[in-house]
């Protein structure tokens, strides 16, 4: 039997204070699509960076085609025929496809960049694998699916026989996912080995030949894709304690807290981003918005917070029309905000925790009195949050960057729940936090809801959406296309609504 294309033996990788990978072993056969699944933070990306030479493992061995490799940099991995397509595309927008592809590996003649030869080679590869890439287009003019194909071509151009795809479907709409899977099938038939990282189990089962599950930094098991269900994989991923986010009895009241009517938003370039969005959230109700990322959810949140100006429609909070209010006035009137990207929108990383406590509440007691900041009161209140929300930190004076992701998120949630908000806008509240913190966050959301809080929940985690929401809307290309009852809904059904398949079925 031939040596496996890639074999990892006992890989351990430590970062200061954290073991990201512990004794990971797996084996990928040549010409197969091998999926690696695990929760966010389970250590998948760290493992792939090891394989791609972006850092070196502290222990263990990497074997390619049966030979042990010591990668010092990605270039070494590339030389060994390994290529990586990153989750965040590594493309220069202001360059053409051709320039992006040949960069670092340019054909030259007499010092000049040999554009003709490059173009021919790109066309050849594009045709061989059915990628349909046009070399002279500017990358910024390309759609997401095209960009991904450019990334794949970039890797193939360097002669890769082993392709690592890091969460490739996270940014794709369903049709693009179908196209991608078509491309992968083509690659496989040409003898390319594909390592596919994901946490979307249905997709994994569609495309992979075998699946390796990673949990808490180490490999749990490798299974054949045909022999397991999504439920089996999910249990392997989270271990025995599969926390299911279920709201118990309904606490929905009759009072409408947030009413959104006909909200319409354009991008600066005139593209429509939100199209006639209308919905209500009652006190004590969690309204979930499901949808593939990039369908307008993030912009809806920013419009509700007053960070974007809609071209039509209205928003009212507790009966007051707040459509033209500033962000500050909205926050003062009781909108709490858990941002999607806490480092970008939720924290001052270099500032202390008590200063972060003030953020978003700069006009509110007890931290602020009139124009003055009350440092002592702010420290005290931060200590309260640290206690009540179990934020693991030595004190309220440490800078926010020193905390782990889960503790940062707990701090943010504690902060946003303070001062009795009337509406909480929670965008991916459990993204990138560990299982324990996730359960705690769900518990806190449930308690707040029982106390009469109205919650808008945006999430990519379908179980979370179904389990937490009282009402679910599906967002597709800027429109709310379906309203569903989470009590009688499976993730599969929700998924088909999100892709628009259900729309097509019902006409």
């Amino acid at each position: 039997m031939a040596a496996p294309a890639v074999e990892l033996r006992g890989i351990t990788k430590r970062f200061p204070g954290v073991v990201a990978n512990r004794d990971v072993s797996l084996s990928v056969a040549r010409g197969e699509v091998h999926a690696i699944v695990g929760e966010n933070g389970a250590g998948k990306s760290t493992l792939m960076k090891t394989l791609y030479g972006m850092h070196r493992p502290d222990e263990g061995a990497v074997l390619v085609d049966g030979k042990e490799m010591k990668f010092r940099s990605p270039s070494d991995a590339i030389d060994a025929g390994i290529g990586m397509v990153h989750q965040h595309f590594m493309l220069a927008d202001n360059f053409t496809v051709l320039e992006n592809v040949v960069l670092g590996n340019e054909p030259t003649s007499g010092g000049r960049l040999d554009v003709k030869r490059a173009r021919a080679k790109i066309a050849e590869i594009s045709d061989a694998y059915g990628l349909g890439v046009v070399p002279d287009r500017l990358v910024e003019d390309l759609g997401v699916g095209d960009r991904q194909r450019v990334e794949i071509l970039k890797v193939l151009y360097r002669g890769a026989k082993i392709l690592i795809l890091d969460e490739p479907t996270a940014v794709l709409v369903p049709q693009e996912v179908d196209e991608l899977f078509g491309n992968l099938a083509e690659l496989k038939s040409e003898g390319v080995t594909v390592i596919f990282i994901s946490h979307k189990l249905d997709e994994v089962l569609r495309v992979a030949d075998s699946v390796t599950v990673i949990r808490a930094g180490t490999t749990v098991r490798t299974v054949r894709a045909g022999e397991v269900s999504a439920r089996d994989l999910a249990e392997l991923m989270v271990g025995s304690e599969l926390p299911t986010p279920e709201t118990r009895e309904s606490t929905v009241t009759d009072t409408v807290e947030l009413a959104v009517r006909g909200l319409t938003l354009n991008a600066p370039d005139g593209r429509r981003i939100l199209d006639d969005v209308s919905f209500d959230i009652h006190r004590g109700e969690v309204v979930g918005i499901a949808g593939v990322e990039g369908n307008g959810q993030a912009e809806l949140v920013e419009t509700l917070l007053g960070l974007r100006e809609p071209i039509a429609g209205s928003v009212s909070l507790g009966g007051q029309d707040i459509t033209h209010w500033s962000t500050r006035r909205r926050r003062e009137s009781g909108i709490g905000y858990i941002p999607e990207d806490r480092h970008r929108q939720g924290l001052l990383l270099a500032a202390s925790l008590w200063e972060n406590r003030i953020l978003g509440h700069q006009t509110q007691a007890p931290m602020v009195r009139g124009p003055w900041i009350d440092r002592a009161a702010s420290r005290r209140d931060t200590e309260r949050i640290i206690r009540e929300y179990d934020v693991r930190t030595p004190s309220a004076d440490v800078p926010a960057f020193a905390l782990s992701g889960g503790n940062q998120q707990k701090l943010i949630i504690g902060r946003e729940m303070s001062g009795s908000p009337s509406l909480l806008v929670a965008s991916h509240p459990t993204r990138g936090v560990d299982v324990g913190a996730q359960a705690a966050i769900w518990e806190q959301l449930r308690d707040a809801r029982a106390a009469g809080l109205a919650v808008l929940l945006i999430s990519a985690d379908l179980e979370e959406l179904i389990g937490m929401s009282d009402t679910l809307h599906v967002m597709l290309r800027g429109r709310l296309v379906a309203q569903l009852d989470p009590a009688r809904l499976t993730p599969e059904e929700l998924g088909s609504h999100m892709t628009g398949a259900a729309l097509r079925d019902t006409g």
Partner: protein, 439 residues
């Protein structure tokens, strides 16, 4: 300002402006090219017209053009220096300091060993400043603006100290200036057209005699060409050639592609094995060398002497010219030419500057008509009002205060930036600190 960039955009796949990457590329480019020609022609006719009306011969005289070229070159070299650094993602406010080093080392080398050695010394001095900037910004991740400001302060200090040491006991030298550089860099004159020597044969000077006839348009064109082709310092020729050479290096070679990739998306470049730090170092050192060359030109060709404060902020104007030119070589050359011309006219004939008010008014009026035809009413009204203002200024006064002329380049830069900022496109990762291995 889109027309300004055309000289550098012909046919390159990298002519990376939004929307040019689609089909119909050649047609678009040739359209842009003819648009530039049209604009140049219109400017020429207007200048000629204004000269005839006002009788200010210096507006298009060969003397003005020669001076404009001499004054534009330091600005252009500083701008080119800025281009290299910023294309690799490093903002270089330190150009001024590097230029100061160039003037000092240029004069010192010229005084000690001869002018061409001076040029080399000036380049080396500037490159040294570039190296410092690279160490601070690339290796230590210091903010680019902060480091640039520090280098400006340091450059001035080093030049002052070295002057005291090197020139204190030289004839005519001292703490603030060098002795005179005895030998000049030779000048060249184009044979056949401008009266240059050709294998020992003194050719006639048809452009020169045409200029003297003061014919509408013909003499103006002759004057401009004569000024640019007669008695030009060889170093100026080299400097001008560096502009297309830089274009070739940056947009047509593998090295250039790598260098620019570092300024657009360093993470991606590193993932493809491009040595990001090394590229940035190279770019910033070249940047300093070019600024140094501009400085050396100032001291060796411009005045045969180093004098403190000689650069007078031309490094900053070079930076402005680069922004004016949308981070492209052709554009920055146009910006440098414009600023050099304004300076030259002011130096030669104060009253001719007054005539430029009329020129500006007419140009704005034309723009207003063009906007009106295209139904861009707001910009038409804006241009018309500005045209009227300049016309009133022209007819209501006899001279432009010299102080106003001195800051014309700066006003123009601010105007261009505020009117065309949306159309300008700087490298995507310009000014951002980059650390190896970051994601």
């Amino acid at each position: 300002m889109s027309t300004v960039t055309s000289t550098s955009g012909s046919g390159a796949p990298a002519a990376g402006r939004p929307g040019t990457g689609r089909r119909g590329l050649p047609a678009r480019l040739s359209g842009r090219f003819s648009g530039t020609l049209l604009l140049v022609a219109a400017v020429l006719v207007l200048l000629s017209f204004v000269r005839v009306i006002t009788g200010q011969e210096d507006i298009t005289s060969s003397g003005t053009m020669g001076a404009a070229l001499r004054l534009a070159i330091p600005i252009g070299m500083a701008g080119l220096g800025g281009l290299f650094a910023e294309r690799a993602g490093v903002v270089n406010i330190g150009l001024e300091g590097m230029m100061i080093l160039g003037t000092w080392f240029g004069a010192w080398g010229g005084f000690q060993f001869g002018p061409w050695w001076g040029v080399l010394a000036g380049i080396a001095g500037g490159a040294l400043g570039g190296l410092l900037h690279a160490v601070a910004t690339v290796t230590f991740g210091v903010d680019h603006i902060v480091s640039g400001v520090a280098i400006n302060i340091l450059g001035a200090g080093v030049a002052r100290y070295l002057s005291v040491i090197a020139y204190a006991h030289t004839p005519g030298g001292g703490a603030t200036q060098s002795p005179e550089i005895k030998r000049d860099i030779q000048t060249v004159t184009l044979p056949v057209l401008s009266g240059g020597t050709f294998f020992g044969w003194h050719s006639p000077d048809p452009l020169g005699s045409l200029e003297r006839h003061r014919w509408f348009l013909v003499s103006d064109l002759a004057g401009i060409l004569h000024g640019l082709t007669a008695g030009v310092s060889l170093l100026a020729v080299v400097a001008v050639l560096l502009i297309p050479a830089s274009y070739f290096l940056l947009w047509r070679t593998a090295l250039g592609l790598r260098l620019r990739s570092v300024g657009e998306n360093p993470v991606s470049a590193e993932s493809l094995g491009v040595p990001v730090y090394r590229m940035k170092y190279l770019a910033v050192i070249i940047s300093g060398g070019l600024a140094g060359l501009g400085g050396a030109f100032l001291s060796i060709v411009g005045s045969s002497i180093y004098r403190e404060g000689q650069t007078g902020g031309q490094g900053f104007i070079g930076l402005a010219a680069m922004i004016f030119g949308n981070w492209r070589p052709g554009g920055l050359a146009a910006g440098a030419a414009l600023f050099g011309y304004a300076d030259a006219l002011q130096l030669r004939e104060q009253s001719a500057v007054h005539a430029l008010l009329l020129f500006t008014a007419l140009l704005l009026a034309l723009l207003a008509v063009r906007s009106a035809v295209r139904r861009a009413i707001r910009s038409a009204v804006f241009s018309a009002v500005a045209a009227a203002a300049f016309a009133i200024w022209f007819f209501g006064s006899d001279a432009v205060p010299p102080e106003f002329v001195s800051f014309t380049p700066h006003i123009v830069t601010l105007l261009v930036l505020s009117l065309a900022a949306q159309r300008l496109r700087m490298p995507a990762a310009d000014g951002q600190p980059y650390r190896k291995g970051q994601q």
